[in-house]
Structure formats: structure tokens, C-alpha cells
């Protein structure tokens, strides 16, 4: 997988800074899993974080408190270092691997593609919405092949990672591994490619805006 559409550098920076919502971060991490370029940018952004941490100028410390913490640290050094067992993922059986959701999405949607319980939203459109967390919305969308979605724009940010299938819009062709990192200046009308359904995961920080009477009728149905 060699993605051609990447995260905005501003999104990578906020991911490195710990400044994305958990939902946005889940989509960004799903992209990072398959994108070397964005992982390298993440490393760069973390080095910037390291340099900024080094530049911090602590004011005159509370010396009594500082001394107490220092003593506590010295005591901790005497303890046997506990052997850190990194929480290894349960081994995935080869025949199971194809059924495995990307790791960052598993806390929201479970591990198994087959076990997903899709909800019908509109002709050719199925959706699963993750339980609310931070206030942003995280959804899995499955759209039948060759289907035109209503033209819509965004009040905030929409981060969408393609997991299966593909779609086209004015910005280009989006295939598995590609991410669409959109803000409120973009209005688009995705059309799914023929063949297999397009499955994507999307994080939204504000409701979508559909122009047009049909889309306005659709909006309450879709519940976004």
C-alpha cells in the first residue's frame, strides 16, 4: 500500500503534540499504520516537541518540594526495575488477519470485520457510529459501488481514511490507504468506484452541511 493522499502537515503536527481529539487521532493513526511518509513527518514533529521541551525555562523551583521529589526518585532507583512486559497484541492467526480491523479502530468497532453490525442509512449506504467519546464523531461508512453521495461541505474538519474500495471527487481518486484531510473551505461530492463497496472511517468535529432540498431531507436520516 502506497498512499497518494496524505495527512495535512498541520494534522501531523497536532497528532505529535497530543492535540487531536481521540477520534481524529484514531483516523490519523490508521493512516500512519500504512504510510511511511506520514510516519517520518510524525518523527520530525516529535523532534520539534523534544526541542521545545528542552527550551522550557522553569521558574525558581519550590526547593523544599523539589528536594522531597528528588529524595523520592533516589528511593525509586534502589528498587528492582520492574520488567516491563510490553502489552503484545494477541497473535493473529494468518487465516484471521484479513478479518482484522486496523488496530487504532479496534477500541471503537471491535476486532473483526465480519462481526460489524452495519445499520442501513439510505439506499446503498450503511453506517456504524462509535459511542460518543470526546464530542467528535467517529463513523464507519460503507457505500455501494458506483454511488454518488450528496454534495456537502463541512463546518469543521473531516478526516476520512479509505479502508476498502475507492471513490473519486474533485480532489482526485481515493483508494485504500489514502486519507482525505478536509476543512470547511472544501465542498465535495464523492462518487464511489465500480466494483466493491467503498468502506471508510471518518472523524468529524462538526455536522456536515448539505446544500439542496434532497440533501436536506437526507440529513436527518443520516443523522450527521
Amino acid at each position: 500500500m502506497n498512499p497518494r493522499h496524505h495527512l495535512d502537515e498541520a494534522t501531523v503536527l497536532s497528532f505529535a503534540a497530543g492535540a487531536l481529539s481521540a477520534e481524529m487521532a484514531a483516523v490519523a493513526a490508521t493512516h500512519m499504520e500504512v504510510c511511511q511518509l506520514c510516519r517520518e513527518r510524525l518523527s520530525d514533529a516529535e523532534r520539534i516537541g523534544g526541542a521545545l521541551l528542552g527550551q522550557q525555562q522553569p521558574a525558581g523551583a519550590d526547593t523544599a518540594r523539589g528536594a522531597r521529589l528528588r529524595e523520592a526518585m533516589l528511593d525509586l532507583l534502589d528498587e528492582e526495575p520492574k520488567i516491563e512486559v510490553r502489552q503484545a497484541d494477541a497473535p493473529v492467526k494468518p487465516d484471521n488477519a484479513a478479518d482484522c480491523l486496523p488496530r487504532p479502530l479496534q477500541p471503537y468497532f471491535g476486532r473483526s470485520w465480519r462481526a460489524l453490525r452495519w445499520r442501513w442509512m439510505a439506499p446503498g449506504v450503511h453506517m456504524i457510529r462509535a459511542a460518543r467519546g470526546s464530542g467528535d464523531t467517529l463513523i464507519l461508512l460503507k457505500i455501494a459501488p458506483g454511488k454518488s453521495m450528496p454534495m456537502h461541505s463541512h463546518q469543521g474538519t473531516e478526516l476520512t481514511q479509505i479502508l476498502q474500495g475507492a471513490y473519486d471527487d474533485a480532489l482526485g481518486h481515493y483508494a485504500p490507504g489514502d486519507v482525505a484531510d478536509l476543512d470547511n473551505e472544501i465542498e465535495h461530492q464523492p462518487i464511489t468506484a465500480p466494483g466493491v463497496p467503498c468502506v471508510c472511517v471518518a472523524a468529524l468535529d462538526a455536522p456536515l452541511r448539505f446544500p439542496g432540498w434532497l440533501a436536506r431531507k437526507l440529513q436527518p436520516l443520516v443523522g450527521l
Binding site: A19, R47, G50, L53, G54, A61, Y108
Partner: protein, 208 residues
């Protein structure tokens, strides 16, 4: 590395000051990496406590900025520093500066504990970058010169970009929160952060 026009708006005195303070920081980076290497090799407690004395107040300050109450910031900073001691053997000074490793540890502790986001999949805070091919051009080694260049570029960011960088890294504000707080369009926040990142990335990558 820095062409003349980048210094055009600074007086010779300002240039000298910016250069010398970033040079000091870069020497510091080498110094701290050497201290950590001694901890890794010999479990040297004196070296570790020098690292502790320098960085613990900085990590506490960082965590308070991210929204931790004083007591939580103290507890998490202790945990972050202790993790250096416990995982010292995995530290490779050729791959990561100490402050970058510590930043990753502290950020992850903040996300795990303060935000209490149970569904967050932990980000890796190991000191290396397994993705990078060390033999390639973009070696992940943080050389003295690269570090000096990055520090230099941070100090000379335009004021607005510097503010947005601080709000992202030290206050964990989202693009929308920054836009709301400063009354800036969301698109402007993103494009300013993008420009700041590209400017600093040149320092990270050691290119002019």
C-alpha cells in the same frame, strides 16, 4: 546553512545572540545524550540524577501547561523520568536526542492518564525510529548541527507561527480551539501551522 537573507531583518547583535543560544542548546543536547549513554552502560546514578535535576522541572512545567494539576504533573514527571532509568538499555544516542524521547514519554503519559481516554491506542514511545532506514540519506541521527539548526529556527519563527506552535505543543489545543480563541479562520490556523512545520522540518532534516 543559513543564507544571508534569512538574517536580513536581524541586527548583527541579534544574530550573534540567536546563534550562541542555539549553539548552547545543541551542546546541551550532546551533553545530555552522553549522560544518558552512561546511565545505559553503567547504571550510573550520578549521571541519572544530573538528568533528573535538569529535566524534571521542565517536564513538570510541560505537563502543567497541558492541563495537569500541580500534584498530577509532579507524579507524571516522576514516572516519565523513572521510565528513562528503567528503559535505559534501549537508548541509542545516535537515533534520538534525550529530550525527544522524554517528550514522547511525557506526552503519552499525559494522554493516557490525564485525558483518561480509555480507547486511545498508545503511541509508541520507544527511543528509536524503527521505520527509518538508517543507511538512507534521511538518517534519523540527530547531529549537533541539525539540532543547532532546529533550535535556531524555533527561535526565529514569526510571532504568529510561534504562538500557534506553543498552543499546539504546550496547551494541546486543536486547530478549531486555536481558531476560536484567536478569532482566526480555521484555514488560516492550518496554513500557518503547516508553514511553521515546514520551516522547522528543514532544521530537523538538516537541510538549508
Amino acid at each position: 546553512m543559513n543564507t544571508d537573507h534569512t538574517h536580513a531583518k536581524l541586527s548583527p547583535f541579534e544574530v550573534a545572540r540567536a546563534m550562541s543560544s542555539s549553539e548552547t542548546q545543541a551542546r546541551d543536547a550532546d551533553y545530555w545524550s552522553a549522560q544518558m549513554a552512561a546511565v545505559a552502560r553503567q547504571r550510573d546514578r550520578d549521571c541519572f540524577m544530573r538528568i533528573y535535576d535538569h529535566y524534571a522541572p521542565r517536564v513538570r512545567l510541560y505537563l502543567k501547561g497541558m492541563g495537569s494539576p500541580e500534584a498530577v504533573a509532579e507524579e507524571l514527571a516522576q514516572e516519565a523520568l523513572l521510565r528513562l532509568w528503567q528503559r535505559a538499555s534501549s537508548y541509542d544516542p545516535a537515533r534520538s536526542s534525550l529530550s525527544t524521547w522524554l517528550f514522547r514519554i511525557a506526552r503519552n503519559l499525559h494522554i493516557d492518564r490525564v485525558r483518561r481516554e480509555p480507547r486511545w491506542v498508545p503511541m509508541d514511545d520507544e527511543p528509536g525510529w524503527p521505520d527509518r532506514d538508517d543507511a538512507s540519506e534521511s538518517s534519523s541521527a540527530e547531529s549537533h548541527a541539525e539540532h543547532a539548526d532546529l533550535q535556531n529556527r524555533i527561535e526565529r519563527l514569526p510571532a504568529v507561527q510561534a504562538r500557534l506552535i506553543r498552543m499546539s505543543y504546550f496547551e494541546a489545543k486543536s486547530h478549531q480551539e486555536i481558531a476560536d480563541e484567536l478569532g482566526m479562520p480555521l484555514g488560516t490556523v492550518k496554513s500557518s501551522l503547516r508553514r511553521a512545520f515546514l520551516r522547522l522540518q528543514l532544521g530537523v532534516r538538516g537541510q538549508a
